[in-house]
Amino acid sequence: MADYEPAIIAFVCNWCTYTAADLAGTSRLVQPPNVRMIRMMCTGMVDPKYIIKALLEGADAVLVSGCHPGDCHYINGNLKARRRMKLLKEILPKFGFDERRLKMTWIGASEGIDFAETVRQMTAEVKALGQNDLRTRMVL
């Protein structure tokens, strides 16, 4: 497998995971330079089509990460997001998108280390899976 730098699109919630990612950054918990973070107010706001779009545009993986259950700033947006991820995990693998390219995690504000670890692990996994070449290929 040719070594390449995967591109991971991360939809992170403004309150928890964004804070954790920031903490990971400021704590110099070096993470692979592969994440493009899209800050959403809440994971419950992540429309499935954003995730589909990211994969079709060639993201090697998509991460959706928000507050732990019970912790959502907006009460339960994260639980709604989980169902949506469940849906996509049913649909997308049917077309060859490996399930590992589609990740959801709960990462609390103080868990910078978990964020770094999640990204590191995803990067390793996706590297092993190989590049999503849709970025540079024509997609119907």
């Binding site: 949506r84 970025r135 997609v139 119907l140």
Partner: protein, 410 residues
């Protein structure tokens, strides 16, 4: 709950006997109108029609193996505001299931609707049906002419005989009864029907049973709900609790045949789209006309997001994409559209196959969407159209569920 009665078929013509039954509904004032598949005065075509005059029911042909569109959409239009007076809707099982989904999406209300479900033995695709209906010979009518559709003004129908369309209906059913099958002139009923595991309506107040009975002699009339029972009572139809063993056997046999077909279809389709490359070739003929979603009964959006300004990309953006990819297929977003539509409706897909029926370019849309929908509904333990009470999967959630999504943590 369920009680069984009978419609005795006169002159071996179940269609007209059914028409008589429906007329009773209007004549007795049980309902204000009947929504039923009606033979159009032109081209032998059938379409749903809202009938208030009992006489006009002479054109009703709920047994025609035609399925030009899913009538749930029509019923939804009628019931977006709760009705003041009751109507009856004679529909195929898949139409009722679609209606159930639409009710849950607040696109209709079942309040004052008596749902009459007719056992479905399948239907042909629109082009096939037009051909079959047209080629079916008109036969001399055995019924008194006054009972026959007057079809005023059209002059198309020979008042002395069965219109060719109706004849094709009777032939279709006779062929099935005699074991000749459904292939006519090289055309078979649509793959959606062949893979349909719901030939019997769920959630119908009244079921008109074709399976397990000789429809040239009688049709079964089964009330499944209190509402249905009341209606049959009002019509003076005697009910008994006669066992329906033969019906059950017939249903089971048909369902198992269809399930076998369905599962082969799932397998075939899964293999045909197992990676993005294959999916693209599967959808290769799509021209982004969006007919599939217009025909889809559960795609209820007033306007699809893919036709809104959200997808009016900045002109420069096309060039940026093209630069990145070397070539950009126009129109863009084809696969994106289909995958998004799956995300939107697969939990509600009832498998009626209208998408394929509507596709101008022969993309086997139904096969693809049903295959995905099957997985999705199984994953959520949901069955589209099965119950008015079951909440759609994406409208509910629980604190503790699907922990596998987040790697076992909740």
């Amino acid at each position: 709950m369920s009680k069984t009665g009978k419609i005795t078929v006169k002159d071996r013509d179940p269609v007209s006997s059914l028409q008589d039954f429906l007329k009773l509904l209007l004549e007795k004032g049980t309902v204000e109108a009947v929504l039923v598949q009606q033979r159009l005065p032109v081209n032998n075509a059938v379409m749903p029609a809202l009938v208030t005059d009992p006489e006009k029911l002479g054109g009703a042909d709920p047994l025609a193996p035609a399925f030009p569109l899913n009538a749930a959409r029509m019923l939804s239009r009628l019931t977006r505001k709760p009705l003041d007076t009751p109507i009856a809707a004679v529909m195929r099982p898949c139409e009722i299931r679609a209606f159930v989904e639409l009710v849950k999406l607040k696109q209709g209300s079942a309040g004052n609707v008596i749902l009459i479900g007719v056992d479905c033995l399948g239907a042909y695709g629109n082009t096939d049906y037009a051909r079959i209906a047209a080629s079916s010979p008109a036969v001399p009518c055995s019924n008194p002419p006054e009972n026959r559709p007057a079809a005023e003004g059209s002059g198309h129908v020979d008042s002395g005989g069965t219109p060719p369309g109706v004849e094709s209906t009777l032939t279709f059913h006779r062929n099935i009864l005699s074991g000749k099958g459904t292939v006519v002139d090289g055309a078979d009923i649509s793959p959606a029907c062949k893979s349909c595991e719901h030939p019997v309506a769920l959630n119908a107040d009244i079921t008109i049973g074709l399976l397990g009975t000789n429809i040239e002699e009688s049709l079964l009339l089964i009330s499944n709900t209190e509402k249905g029972g009341v209606v049959l009572g009002e019509l003076g139809i005697k009910e008994d609790d006669e066992p329906l063993d033969s019906r059950q056997r017939a249903v089971e046999a048909l369902v198992s045949e269809r399930l076998a077909y369905r599962d082969r279809m799932f397998e075939r389709t899964s293999a045909a789209v197992s990676d993005i490359e294959k999916l693209m070739s599967y959808l290769g003929n799509c021209v982004n006309c969006y007919n599939c979603r217009v025909a889809c009964p559960v795609c209820y959006c007033r306007e699809c997001v893919f036709t809104t300004d959200v997808f009016d990309h900045e002109p420069a953006q096309y060039l940026r994409w093209a630069k990145r990819k070397g070539a950009l297929k126009m129109p863009t977003d084809t696969v994106f559209y289909h995958l998004t539509r799956m995300a939107h409706m697969s939990a509600a897909c009832i498998g009626c196959g209208q998408c394929s029926n509507a596709c101008p370019n022969g993309v086997p849309v139904m096969e693809l969407f049903r295959t995905v929908a099957h997985g999705v509904q199984r994953a959520f333990g949901y069955s589209a159209g099965a119950s008015f009470d079951e909440a759609p999967p994406l409208s509910v959630f629980h604190e503790k569920e699907f922990s596998e999504v987040t790697g076992g943590h909740d």
